[in-house]
Symmetry: C2
Subunit: 210 residues, 2 copies
Amino acid sequence: MRRNVLAGNEAVAAETRKMLDGRGIVAVNLISSPGAGKTTLLEKTLEALDGEIGCAVVTGDQRTDNDARRLSGKGANVAQIETGDACHLNAGQVAESLDGVLEDGTKLLFIENVGNLVCPVAFDLGEHFKIALLSVAEGEDKPSKYPSLFATASVVALTKIDLLPHLDFDLAACRKAVRGMRPGAFIFELSAKTGEGMDKWLDYLRSLVD
Amino acid sequence: MRRNVLAGNEAVAAETRKMLDGRGIVAVNLISSPGAGKTTLLEKTLEALDGEIGCAVVTGDQRTDNDARRLSGKGANVAQIETGDACHLNAGQVAESLDGVLEDGTKLLFIENVGNLVCPVAFDLGEHFKIALLSVAEGEDKPSKYPSLFATASVVALTKIDLLPHLDFDLAACRKAVRGMRPGAFIFELSAKTGEGMDKWLDYLRSLVD
């Protein structure tokens, strides 16, 4: 059954990707633990890119539309998906939401998955690639302990680095753990709160839609 | 199929609970996001209770035996379960591990689940109750966004409170969110790092096996 579910999901995801390609839209699937800062990073990102790059967001949570409310009014169309019992978004949910958020001029689609380091990895949503977020408050061993995400995500953002002075977090060990799972991973180190590292992140996003 | 899996799991869990009851062992199932501090809390707990209360630990991760290594040598028997692709422990895995960790005099069994706020909730492991951990670095809205755990867990530990001065975390709002999901929830606020709040936590554990 699981295999059928995944095969059905992949067919929908492939359709979505084809549609996005036809419209020149780059889509990323943001995956992290709950509370790693996906929504805060998106808030600051949408504010920074408003008027410059057309952005859209589909955001998933088990329950509440908190995230959609936080992300609205920043120049991007935002759709919330409440997944109920499910611990990840699936391609069908995302495909159904896209009509409401994509418009002429949309260049960048952010899909903010349900907070979970395991299950979302298996479900292709039609994105072009996955970005893993890891808050430095979570500890540097997470890439080794949750290998499926970190082996899959070509881009990793280490978030909340403003907390580093207050944590026993070994940044070098974390980079090594990430690269142990995926040798070529591109790693950002940033704080959406203080703005540290945000320039590099935003320049990277700009480069995706150049 | 999902229903059959869960029913099979529950039968094994019920057997485990019956066995634990027969031996006078109290079992708790610790559930949180990755990096909320389950292992650190257990390290400090085992150290504090060593020689006083017989403890055993079963700890799950997608991969690595890091946690078992961190928890060993503290007076408790520890078993590591690597779940591979799975995002939660199941009752069969726990039952198989118990022979290796329970001994005469064991009073308290800690089951440290895979870091995940969603999937572990559905799988009874034979525990007597669940304890949810939430790091204050994750944000106070998590109980509302991940209601299944917080509606189920009668005990919640808010961890890493030493970070509060460096975060925009509203403790009162978090308590309210927890109680919104489960009005009578018993909430601990602690830092395993500084020791703040640990006395209350340890006294509570002692009271479980009095």
